[in-house]
């Protein structure tokens, strides 16, 4: 009982130790896995199309070699088997022939010569192919049997020369019996040989069939491998890239996801494309920014002129306050100081809009009211409009839904359209701006219309081309509409133009409304979808 208790304790301790080592191993494994997943690039294994193609090539070489070898071996086996079958037939034929002549001779119908010749021919064949027979049955007694058969025939011939007597008759009967026995044995060998070669032949034919079926099966698998390479890896990814490029050409900014299990050349291509788009975006931003500064330059004249008024008011008021300080009563002084503050505020407002607009800032996509953007833009351009003596007529439809966009970039677009309209409007003329719901649902449109001379047909095709301008050198960069089109496309909208000779031109900006509620929309970025 005590022994049993000890034994149980030992077992228990041993099991505990074993469990502990197992647990340690498991923990180590999990830790190493965690380390792996921490590095995000190593999650997907790298399996390039190039190595896929190499694999296909190597497999096809191996597979074709294997199939050729297997077929060669089976064909060789079957050819060999056919030779054996032929040999078996020859054996049977020749042995039968020898027996036939022997029986004819014994019956007295034929001369011994025929019998001897046929047994000689049979013996020749057996000598020639002695080893082949050895593969199928014990051939050690075959030659001796044949020789014995020949000798018996000779004996029989010799006895026939003696005069017939009882003694000779008895000898003849004995020899005949021996001949019978031998010929049975020889033809038994024939039967055995024929059976065994037939059996081998059937076995090798079966092998041939199996090789054939296996070859077909592996070829089919191999085809699947190639089809996977071509259709799933190459063609499908390529068509995705084509679609991606089409999306890009319409100006939509989407991210290209190779959507693959493996990292391969297409992943490299995708990251190169992404890099290219980043660079393109950066260039676009530089162009956009330089064009914006150009617009700021245009606006500066209006701002400078508009600033004159509050500065003049400040100058006059300050001088009069200084001059008459002691003659004025307190209320008048306070009034003047209030005027000074108000006019300083007014100057600040005039400059602030422009500075806000000119400031280079990150693109922020947020839910915004399109009417606010247009109103702000009009304020920005207001000084310039005033300077040129042009009146802007703004109509805003009530209860417009919000859109998702970059306020500053959209201001740049509308400012550009307004300044373009201003350029073709005579002093005292007007431009019209309408903000309304689009004909299509989920769209708002902003129309900026002038009543100038319109755009001639031959120019109309080119107005959105970069660096195309009709303005005099130094006045226009030819980037305004191109940049605007880029910005609007990025917002998922479009700019269209309609023009009539001598009647004027209307630019229509169509923008999709946001369906994201304002409070959570700030964190989302629907225009930058992924593909």
């Amino acid at each position: 009982m005590m022994l049993f208790q000890n034994c149980l304790d030992k077992w228990y301790n041993c099991a505990l130790k074993r469990l502990k080592t197992l647990l340690d191993k498991k923990i180590e494994k999990i830790e190493s896995q965690n380390n792996l997943t921490g590095d995000d690039t190593s999650i997907t294994q790298r399996f390039t199309v190039r190595s896929h193609i190499y694999m296909v090539f190597v497999i096809s070489v191996i597979l074709s070699c294997a199939i050729t070898a297997a077929l060669g071996v089976t064909v060789y086996l079957i050819t060999r088997d056919m030779k054996y079958v032929n040999l078996a037939n020859t054996y049977i034929l020749l042995s039968n022939k020898a027996m036939f002549h022997e029986r004819n001779f014994v019956a007295g119908w034929e001369d011994i010569k025929e019998s001897k010749e046929s047994i000689k021919a049979f013996e020749m064949v057996v000598f020639e192919r002695y080893n082949d027979f050895g593969n199928f049955f014990d051939n050690s007694r075959l030659i001796s049997n044949i020789e014995k058969y020949g000798r018996l025939l000779d004996d029989l011939t010799e006895i026939n020369t003696f005069p017939p007597s009882e003694q000779t008759n008895a000898k003849v009967v004995k020899i005949r019996n021996e001949l019978h026995q031998l010929s049975d044995e020889i033809s038994n060998y024939g039967k055995l040989f024929s059976e065994r070669t037939g059996h081998t032949m059937r076995k090798d034919m079966f092998l041939f069939k199996i090789v054939f079926v296996l070859a077909t099966f592996f070829l089919f698998l191999f085809m699947l491998f190639i089809v996977h390479l071509l259709i799933y890896r190459v063609l499908r990814t390529m068509s995705r890239i084509v679609q991606y490029a089409k999306h890009l050409s319409t100006g939509q900014q989407i991210k290209f996801m190779p959507g693959k299990v493996y990292q391969d050349e297409f992943s490299d291509l995708a990251s190169a494309l992404e890099q290219m788009m980043k660079e393109f975006d950066r260039q676009q931003n530089i162009i956009s920014q330089s064009h914006k500064l150009r617009a700021v330059g245009t606006l500066t004249a209006g701002v400078a002129h508009e600033l004159n008024n509050p500065i003049n008011n400040i100058t006059l008021t300050a001088h009069m306050l200084l001059e008459d300080y002691h003659d004025l009563d307190e209320d008048e002084r306070l009034d003047m100081i209030k005027d000074l503050i108000d006019e300083a505020d007014r100057s600040r407002t005039i400059v602030r809009n422009l500075l806000d607009f000119a400031r280079e800032s990150e693109s922020i996509m947020e839910p915004i009211g399109i009417s606010d953007v247009v109103t702000e833009t009009l304020k920005l351009a207001g000084n310039q409009l005033k300077l040129n003596g042009v009146h802007a007529d703004l109509t805003i439809a009530p209860n417009l839904p919000r859109i998702h966009g970059d306020r500053q970039q959209l201001e740049q677009v509308f400012l550009n359209l307004i300044l373009n309209a201003l350029d073709v409007t005579m002093k005292g003329g007007q431009i019209r701006i309408d903000v309304e719901r689009g004909d299509e649902p989920n769209f708002v449109v902003v129309k900026v219309a002038d009543f100038g001379n319109g755009i001639p047909d031959h120019i109309l095709h080119h107005i959105f081309d970069p660096f195309f301008t009709t303005k005099s050198k130094g006045k226009g960069t030819g980037l305004g509409l191109s940049v605007s089109q880029g910005i609007i496309a990025k917002h998922g909208g479009q700019i269209t133009v309609s023009t009539k000779q001598k009647r004027g031109t209307t630019f229509t900006v169509k923008l999709p409304i946001t369906t994201i509620p304002a409070d959570i929309g700030g964190n989302m970025d629907s225009a930058h979808g992924s593909f």
Partner: protein, 134 residues
């Protein structure tokens, strides 16, 4: 003609009139201030002033229109244009159309007073002005 040196001051900025009126009155002028060019034109058609000071750029009616209106009615009236920095061309145009002088915004009250004194000298009415320019 009365014994006062009569000035019409037109600027659509109300503070300009509000501050310049006492400044010119200290000089001894009688000042009519307008912010609406149409009313000013109406007043000009009723009465001849010694000096008309007008902003060149206003909504609706231009300073040049005022100049033309004055020139067509009275040859003696001196017209002083108030311009912005960026409008030298317009100022030249005004001068060629018969404006007496121009003064660029932003200006000090004394700048205007000295131009008005100059105009008074040309008109031979300096005796009407009492104050010397500070």
């Amino acid at each position: 003609m009365s014994g006062e040196f009569e000035v019409l001051l037109l600027d659509d900025e109300p503070i300009v009139g509000k501050r310049l009126k006492p400044a010119l009155e200290k000089l001894g002028c009688e000042v009519d201030v307008f912010t609406d060019p149409k009313e000013a034109l109406k007043r000009l058609s009723e009465k001849n002033f010694d000096v008309v000071v007008t902003d060149i750029r206003m909504e609706d009616v231009d300073g040049l229109d005022v100049l033309e209106a004055v020139m067509s009615k009275s040859t003696t009236t001196k017209v002083i244009m108030i311009t912005g920095y960026a409008m030298m061309e317009l100022a030249q145009q005004a001068l060629s159309k018969g404006a007496f002088d121009f003064i660029a915004k932003p200006f000090k009250p004394d700048d205007l007073r000295s131009v008005i004194i100059k105009a008074a000298e040309v008109l031979g009415k300096t005796d009407m002005l009492k104050g010397a320019v500070k």
